[in-house]
C-alpha cells in the first residue's frame, strides 16, 4: 500500500521540476572527498553545456579541497544514479540525459589528501 489511509490518497510532490522556474536541480559530488559534508545541490538551466557546468559551479564548489587543482578532467570517471556513465562535455545537461534531481558522482583515483586510506 503506498500509504496507510482511510481512503485513496494521492500525494503531490513539492519539488517537481515545474516549480523551479525553468531550471532544474542537479546533485554533484566527488567520491572520497568528505571535506564537503554532502553532495552539492545546484540549480541550473537544462540547456547549460556540461562543460559550463564543470567550469562554473562544479570547479568553484570543490575549490576549498586541497586536491581541487590536481583534477585531470579528461581522466575523471563519472557516475550517474550510481552507474558508470560518460558525459559529453559539449552537449547540454538535457542532451546528456541529466534529469531533474539526478545525482552525478565523479572519481579521481589516487587523489585523497584528506581521506584516510
Amino acid at each position: 500500500m503506498p500509504v496507510a489511509a482511510l481512503k485513496e490518497y494521492i500525494g503531490v510532490p513539492r519539488d517537481s521540476v515545474d516549480k523551479f522556474l525553468g531550471q532544474q536541480l542537479v546533485y554533484v559530488s566527488r567520491d572520497h572527498h568528505l571535506l564537503f559534508a554532502s553532495a552539492f545541490l545546484t540549480c541550473v538551466p537544462p540547456q547549460m553545456k556540461f562543460r559550463e557546468f564543470v567550469e562554473g559551479p562544479l570547479k568553484t564548489l570543490i575549490q576549498p579541497d586541497p586536491d581541487a587543482e590536481k583534477v585531470d578532467w579528461t581522466k575523471v570517471q563519472w557516475l550517474k544514479s550510481n552507474q558508470p556513465w560518460q558525459p559529453q562535455f559539449n552537449l547540454s545537461l538535457k542532451e546528456n540525459g541529466i534529469e531533474h534531481k539526478d545525482q552525478i558522482r565523479f572519481q579521481t583515483p589516487g587523489l585523497n589528501t584528506l581521506s584516510a586510506a
Partner: protein, 506 residues
Amino acid sequence: METKVAKKKLGLKDRYKLLTRDLGWEPSYHTKDEVFPYVKYEGIKIHDWEKWEDPFRLTMDAYWKYQAEKERKFYAIIDAHTQNNGHLNLTDARYLSALKLFLQAISPGEYAAGKGFARVGREFGGVGTQVACQMQALDEIRHAQTQIHAMSNYNRYYNGFHSFADQRDRMWYTSVPRSFFDDAMSAGPFEFMIAIGFSFEYVLTNLLFVPFMSGAAYNGDMATVTFGFSAQSDEARHMTLGLECIKFMLEQDPANTPIVQAWIDKWFWRGFRVLGLVSAMMDYMLPKRVMSWREAWNIYGVENGGALFTDLARYGIRIPKHWDDAEKAVDHMSHQFMLALYQWNFGTCFHTWIPPEPDMEWLSSKYPNTFDKYYRPRWEHLKKLAKEGKPFKNFGLAKLCQTCQLPIIFTEPDDPTMSCHREVDYKGNKYHFCSDGCQHIFENEPEKYVQAWLPMPALFQEPLKGDLGAWMNWTSLIDGKDNGDYVGSQDERNFQQWRGLATTNT
C-alpha cells in the same frame, strides 16, 4: 444540637473509577465506529479496551494539584536565576549553541507532541487510554512553555534566541524534528503511540534528556536544570504509558505483532536520525562535557535498549531492523554533524567553531578508532583555511534526505570514506535518501513522503528564487549576529566582557 458529620472521603480506588473509567458511556444514536473512526484502519485489532492497565491511576484532580506544585517551584527558581544574573554563571558562551539548537528544534517538538496526544486521546476507544493521553497532552504543552520561559532570560543577553518560532517553521535543520512529529501526527493513533509514546519517550528519551540536563548542570545553566527536574516525574509517566500501550497492542491480538514491529523499525530509525543533533551537542558544543555520545549510546542505547528488547522478545518483538547500522554510525555521527554545521554556519541561528586543540585531544581519546583517522585531518585543513583568512563556507548547500530531511552527510555503514548514496524513482520523479533505513520508510508509504517540504530545494522556488539574503530575512536570522563562527562573535565578546567585569577591576 446537630453534630457535624465529616464528609465521606472517597478511597483511591473509587476515585479512580469515578474519575476515569466511569466517564465513558455506550453511544446509542451513533455507532462506535462513527464515534471513533480512526481506530481500525491501521489494522490493529483491539478486543477489550477494559484490559488497558493504567499503572499510575492518576486522576485529573490529583494531576492539577501535583502540576501546580511543580510550576510554583519551577518559577521560583527561574526568578532567582534571573535576579542573580544566571546568564553569567555559564562555563562559556559556546554552551549557548546547544541551548539555541534545543529551543529551535526540540521545544517545538514538545508542543507538537502535545497536539498529537490531544488528538489520539480523542481517537482512542477506551477511557483509561483517553485520560492518560489527555494528561500527557497537558504535560507536553507545559514542557514547551517551561522550556521557553527558562531560556527567555538568555534572550535578553545573547543572540539567536529571538525568533525560535519562525525558525521552527523555516530553518533547514529544524525541518528534521518537525517532519518527525508531522509524520507521527499524520499517522493513525496507534502508530502515533509507537512513534512518540514508545520509540521516542521510551527507547530514545534518555539519550536526549539525561545527557542534556547533566550537560546543563555541568555548564552552570540552572534554568535548564530546573525545567529538567520539573519535567522528570512527567517523563516517568510518559515512559510507562508508552510501554503499557505497546504491551496492550501485543496482548490483544497476535496479528498486531508484525504491524507493531514495522512501526518500531521505522520509528527507531527516525528517532535515531533526529538524535544525531544531540550527538553534536554532546561531543562538541558543551564546553565542559559530561560523557561522549558513544558513552551515552552504550549506556542508554545498548544496555537499556538491549534489556527492553529482550523483555519484549516473549511477544515476538525483535530488535529494530536498522539497529546495526545505528551502532556503526555512533563513532562517526557527531563529527559528521559538527563538520556540516560548521561549513554551513552562514545559515545556522547559532554559532559553531573549529574545536580548540584540547577538545581535539578529548575527541581523539573518546573516539580512538575514528577521530584521528577520518575527522581530525578535515578539522586541521579547516583550521589552515581559517588561518589564511579564507574560512570555509560551503555555498553548495546540500542534498537532503526525502524521509528524515537531514542533509545527506552520512557515510556507508562499512566505509567511512564513502558518502551514502541511495535513490528511488517513483512515478517519474527521483528521491534521495541518507540510508537504507530512510529509503525503506519511503518505500513503505511513498505517497506520504513525496510531499515532503525540503527546505533547500524550496530556496530555489518561488518566492525566494535562490536569494540567500531574502531567505535570512524570511527565517528571521540576523546575518553577522546570529550565525557564523563563535570566534569573533558578539556573543563571545559580550560574555567575556561581562564575565571580566564580574571578576576583574578593568
